[in-house]
Symmetry: C2
Subunit: 233 residues, 2 copies
């Protein structure tokens, strides 16, 4: 029987069998929101790198380098981690080399899965449709913040569990917890998250516009997929 | 400033600095509920063992051996993991050697802390009072189920965060998530947990009476404390 489960931190991925599963990696603020936005605006591919220096070297090979550490753009990189940077015509057809504090690390840990797709609120319904039509059991891997559980990725996991509730019943506690939290938060996620540690951190960096955008469901229909280490749609 | 945080799985303890903290270890179903019950009925000490065979050997040294694996009593041990086993007069003054699937493993991982105390709903208010009067920052470590996050331990963490909310503001997302879940659940925790994986597992083992009891706040006032590897009150 098809199952759905939620891994609340990349540090817990080893507890799950992923070989036969579709893993959805989510890093709402802001890696996977950026990736989805970029593909919706025509980038050719995104290659995720957990290691910053290896990512940096890709510039010499014709890649656009994108990166963030601790919420701020990496010095010398072409682009940072705001979805609004990934909307221009200039990125159409480009190959991006991408590294972030949490999101690309989570993708790295999910590599053993049968299928890895990229989720965000921006492509929520398309992700849900893909999961519903697919045959594999599902594991949502939340990127969190440096291994710790965060609210925004948990809410996304809860949204997916909630939208699939009539088709796939969660059997574990993490999806139930995530679904309950999403149910409380869904009518005003910005307000619900206003006390969260990551939102406080991002507000200090003046990216409130990013927060609002990253919490807006169904702006795009693309579902990026990891194929031999490279994300494509 | 005094802080409060929640570690939702023993597998995440390494992400937290515990040396200067009071760690509350919680395993509602049922290790820490049993420990609190036992001390309330006069046991002299409980020595937690992560390793089952080492625990077994303590019988020859005059200890009562208590143990559970996967929810069931260990063959050859004197006692299992139901709080009702720890209420009789016969355990008064005894030393217990204790090993369980999750609870004693979580205590093992918390050993580096400045102070380790044992929490359960049964001694909730006394734990909260201790934390409030203490000087250390607080980390609640949930035992979970084989490393995965579970609802009942998360609810206990949420209850502590909630009761301390006017004194200590949580700065991280895990305590906020736990507090939100406790707020939804608190009026009928048995019902809230009826879909949880662990409660389903325990119901299969016919321990519904245990579940109800372990979710009853403030039955006892004891707060067991780990001193040189041994729990005492």
């Amino acid at each position: 029987m098809k199952t759905i489960d939620v891994c609340l931190s990349p540090e817990l991925v080893h507890l799950y069998d992923v070989e036969d599963k579709t893993v959805v990696v989510v890093d709402i603020f802001r890696a996977t929101s950026c990736m989805v936005t970029a593909f919706a605006h025509g980038v050719e591919s995104i290659t995720p790198f957990a290691n910053l220096e290896i990512c940096r070297e890709m510039k010499a090979k014709g890649y656009v380098t994108s990166g963030e550490r601790n919420g701020e753009k990496v010095r010398g990189f072409d682009m940072g981690n705001s979805p609004f940077e990934y909307m221009g015509d200039s990125i159409r057809g480009q190959k991006i080399a991408f590294t972030t504090t949490n999101g690309t690390q989570a993708i790295e840990k999910a590599r053993g899965a049968k299928e890895v797709i990229i989720g965000s609120f921006l492509n929520l319904s398309s992700v849900v449709k893909n999961l519903l039509l697919g045959e594999n059991s599902i594991l949502i891997v939340c990127a969190g913040w440096k291994g710790k559980v965060n609210l925004e990725d948990t809410l996304f996991a809860g949204a997916v569990v909630d939208k699939l509730r009539n088709y796939i019943e969660p059997d574990c506690d993490a999806p139930l917890a995530a679904q309950q939290l999403y149910t409380i938060a869904k009518n005003d996620m910005v307000k619900f998250l206003s006390t969260s540690s990551h939102v406080k951190r991002l507000n200090r960096l003046n990216v409130f516009k990013d927060i609002e955008f990253c919490l807006t469901p169904d702006q795009y229909k693309v579902v990026p997929r990891l194929i031999r280490g490279i994300l494509k749609v």
